[in-house]
Amino acid sequence: MSSLWNTVFYQPIYNVLIFIITNITFGDVGFAIILVTIIVKLILSPLTKKSIKSQILMKQMEPELKQIKKDFPNKEEQAKKTFELYKKYGTNPFSGCLVIILQLPVIFALYYVFYKGLSIDASLVYSFIQTPTNLHTNFLGLIEMGSQSIFLGVFAGVTQFIQGYLSSPVKVKMAKSSEARSPDASKEAFREIVKESELVDKPKTFQEQLSDSMQMNIRYILPVFIAFIAWKISAAVALYWIVSNIFTIAQEWCIRRQLTRNSV
């Protein structure tokens, strides 16, 4: 199983990295990491595009979805109405969980290439690819790729935070935007808030409280966690994370712009 993963996912990406180091960046590892990450992300982008799109539309549909859940207690009818709503917004058919899961080995292999370090293992390099003669791992003459860099680690965390913040804006903002759209919607939202506060009055179990605070804090915890890991492993992994986050931010921004253009 692991050898299959090695030959199908890990080795090709590793060889692309070596090829780029030799032929394009002339021994510079830092820029090669940036290029490889962008190439792999570009190849995957048609697959991720759909799910980002539905993520954005899902946020817009949220009030209507809540309404459906209230009006139709029957689960089958609920599902039917929900799919009608999807059709109205034009997000169906979704790509499916399987498509996302199939991407994971690629992402994991990409990460592993940088994780394993930057020494060249000749047994993994294909025969038609030259190994680089002069390898310099000093990115921009400042940061040693193989060492730990707190600066790149923190930057990875910051980009992760920005990415998370953009993809799921804080709830208060959502309520404000719906207020601007129609007064009815804001009333609805207010009722919702009142209801939720009624629910809050009920004593909660420890687990419920834990999961609530988790939802609140995951936006802040995850970036810190990633910053810490990126710093501890190596500057190469941190650089990969930064590039991949910036790529996702750019991709989301493009899709958002496309969607607003289509609606206008």
Binding site: K50, Q55, K75, F83, G96, C97, V99, M214, Q215
Partner: protein
């Protein structure tokens, strides 16, 4: 054991991750797996959840699939 797995799925549902809005089914795969774990136990439940994920692809015609 059941609780552990269900909390694990709850945690997954809270992490910002791109697969959340791409499920072709209702209830979603993760929601479905929670229900099967409650109903059939961890082993059969997780197996059924896995089968469900394999069915969750763009060519799936039937979008309503309850436990």
């Amino acid at each position: 054991m059941k609780k552990f797995f269900i909390n694990f799925i709850n945690l997954y549902q809270k992490i910002p991750f791109k697969s959340h809005n791409s499920c072709v089914f209702l209830p979603t795969c993760s929601e479905y797996t929670k229900e099967t774990i409650l109903k059939y136990g961890v082993f059969i439940g997780v197996y059924k959840g896995f089968r469900r994920i394999c069915r969750c692809h763009p060519w799936q015609k039937n979008h309503y699939d309850s436990v």
